[in-house]
């Protein structure tokens, strides 16, 4: 009885094989798509991640008031970055004209550009970037061309406990010294806080933190061409050693190997950390009423081996889909989103870091957000993560090997050698 079931299955499969062989898909050229609708105007859709801070209604209202014939529809995706990415990939692969302007995480822009999904902002699509933070423009530039309009920036900051220290450390040695006697070692136990933590779970956040440490020490992950790995260097080893030794010597608690942004924030909020690396969004939460450290913390630039360190650049840009039918409207929308009014509201209402340089010295804003000058310094010295179309493979190479080193499974030197080889392999195709 069992054997008899197989024959029809084989028959069924062979039928399908014939069907599939006929159904090969021909790849169309995307050049035509990029040119279509170059000067056309009409209603557009703006695709962006979930609007947790409620800034999108303002953007839509302001735009629609001024452009009654080219109204924008906001399409919100999930609040998880990887789900946003796969949603965009699926719609681009389907050449969906319904996605006109899309929000692009800084690390996705190169891939989208290289796949021809978003158009270069040059010629008739040229965008004035002179008012913008240079680091944000650099992160949206691929192959010498700007592909996306910076929309919101982000930089790493050092949060410290003002009841434990009055002067924030500027160097790593200083940080370690300040912790002595005031913190526990190794794990978060007892009434004393642990010394330092960032985001060291094996995910994108570890790439951010490892890159910051490596860049701060003068090392580089990739060379100026954005592809050739240069991470197997003495400087990079010095940088990564700050984190590796943290776990060895106990100034980073071992719980931090499972920390993403939220977990590190929770620990600092509960008074369990003296120093924390995090993004600006943590400020509002730490000052909130559920926080045990509400009036006992302040913000400083990240420390480095000798003087202030370098932040990794976070944030988002807006790209114009190659398959959009109304590209002239899209470009106007990009310019609109860079306007003083929108950038100001994004900060006020959504605590998004502006990309317009002048806002960081605006008296009203600085009064409301005292960390703005510090954040500006962080973003101005920020190093974008490798701008490469092979980013998924590159970040996997950095995460995996850095994590192995933090866990003490391999030496720093070995980790960097493997990282170098893995980046080379990931970008070889």
């Amino acid at each position: 009885m069992r054997k008899k079931g197989i024959a029809p299955a084989v028959c069924l499969l062979s039928t399908v094989a014939v069907l599939a062989a006929c159904g090969g898909n021909g790849g169309g050229s995307s050049n035509d798509a990029a040119k279509q609708g170059a000067s056309a105007r009409g209603p557009i859709t703006f695709v962006t991640g979930k609007d947790n801070s409620g800034i999108m209604p303002y953007i839509a209202d302001q735009w629609n008031k001024a452009h009654p014939n080219e109204k924008v529809t906001i399409k919100q995706q999930s609040d998880q970055a990887d789900q946003q990415l796969s949603d965009l990939q699926q719609h681009f692969q389907a050449k969906d004209p319904g996605y006109d302007v899309v929000t692009v995480d800084v690390v996705w822009s190169a891939e989208f550009a290289a796949k021809g999904w978003i158009i270069p902002l040059e010629g008739q699509y040229a965008l004035d970037t002179s008012q913008l933070l240079p680091a944000t423009v650099k992160a949206a530039t691929y192959n010498g061309k700007l592909f996306a309009a910076p929309y919101a920036s982000d930089g790493g900051l050092l949060y410290y406990r003002t009841d434990l220290t009055k002067t924030p450390p500027t160097t790593w040695d200083d940080l370690i010294k300040q912790c002595q006697g005031k913190t526990t070692s190794g794990t978060i136990t007892g009434p004393k806080p642990a010394c330092y933590a960032g985001q060291f779970a094996k995910y994108e956040g570890l790439t951010v933190n490892a890159a910051e440490a490596i860049n701060a020490a003068g090392g580089n992950i990739v060379g100026p061409d954005g592809v050739t790995p240069q991470v197997d260097s003495q400087q990079a080893a010095t940088g990564l050693d700050f984190l590796v030794n943290g776990f060895k010597q106990g100034y980073i608690p071992k719980e931090a190997l499972g920390f993403q942004e939220t977990q590190s924030l929770n620990a600092f909020q509960a008074g369990q950390l003296m120093f924390m690396r995090n993004w600006p969004y943590a400020d509002a939460i730490l000052a909130g009423k559920d926080s045990k450290v509400a009036s006992k913390f302040a913000i400083a630039p990240l420390p480095g081996p000798s003087g202030h360190g370098a932040s990794s650049l976070g944030g988002h840009s807006l790209g114009i889909s190659a398959y959009s039918k109304y590209k002239a409207t899209d470009l106007d929308f990009l310019k609109f989103i860079e306007s003083d009014d929108i950038q100001r509201n994004d900060l006020n209402q959504g605590t998004l870091a502006p990309v317009v340089t002048s806002l960081y010295s605006d008296a009203t804003l600085v009064k409301k957000f005292p960390y703005l000058p510090t954040l500006l310094a962080s973003i101005q010295t920020a190093v974008p993560r490798p701008v490469t179309p092979y980013y998924p493979g590159v970040t996997e190479a950095i995460e995996t090997n850095a994590y192995a080193a933090l866990q003490g499974q391999v030496s720093t030197k070995q980790a960097l050698t493997s990282m170098q080889a893995a980046i080379k392999s990931a970008t070889a195709g």
Binding site: T15, L19, I188, A201, K254
Partner: protein
Amino acid sequence: MTLAGQVEEKVIENEGRNGRKRRRPRRTSINPGESRRAWTLIAPAILLLILIVGYPVIKAIYQSFLTDPGLDKSTGLFNQGNAWNGITNYTHWLGQRCAVAGGGTQSCPSGTLGSQFWGSAGVTLGITVVACTIETVIGMGFALMMNRAFRGRALVRVAILIPWAIPTAVTSKLWQVIFDPQGILNKILGTHFAWTSEQWPARSAIVIADVWKTTPFIALLILAGLQSIPEETYEAARIDGANAWRRFTSVTLPLVKPALAVAVIFRVLDTLRMYDLPAILTGGANGTTTSSILVVKQLTSGVNSASALSTITFVLIFAIALALVRLFNANIVGAQTGGKVK
């Protein structure tokens, strides 16, 4: 599949009447016209299966022999890829050979997805063996308990079924909170395990969460089997002087075996495909990257290579399923046409 099997049986019976004497028609024989009508009737179902099952599978296998888009260094743009690539995608995974810039291959360095293939296959298999063994033993216990008549039996049945009813994504989040370094488990045990950021604790965490969630499934299937055993067989065994253990091994086990086999095979296949629990609980870190997680990771950097990987995974799981069916001598495929009970 089952429909096709039925029809095929009829066709063979038909042949038997026409010449070959090996098989005797069990039911009233059918003429060729009836057979044709049968095919016509099941054609929509077969077509639907071809569309929703066959096409994606064959398409994936076909794609696994193609190249992924490569970067054109002069323009900085990706080309279309999809050129014939032979078995390169397969040697990439099975032999852990990674491409080198300028042609040729090398052994995949640590930190590439290629270097994780055998590791993840081993982890998937290991978790499956351990989790399914524990689940079967506990599930059998639960089923025997639920089968007894006692006060509050309905309550126990509901309580046991609750974990199964909660979506995996939710239970994964629940366990994440429990396994947190400052979570309730460490508080109760008085330990300081970083459950989800060390290798063996992370793997145990996944096994624990999986056992908690899916034991009820096994228990339920076994219970269905237990309830079909007539009470008289036990009475007869008791009269023959069999003690409780003997009744369990000689009456319960053989009679519940078909149900048990189905339960175990389903669970093994499920666990081999496991994605959601480790993806949420550990993110695949600390040696918990299952084959499915690896496929999804690879999808972001090359669909055709991911197709090869999922084909390999598919073949592995299929082979294991086949081996299990043989092992249990289970009659799963043809069960509805009169499965034999030994």
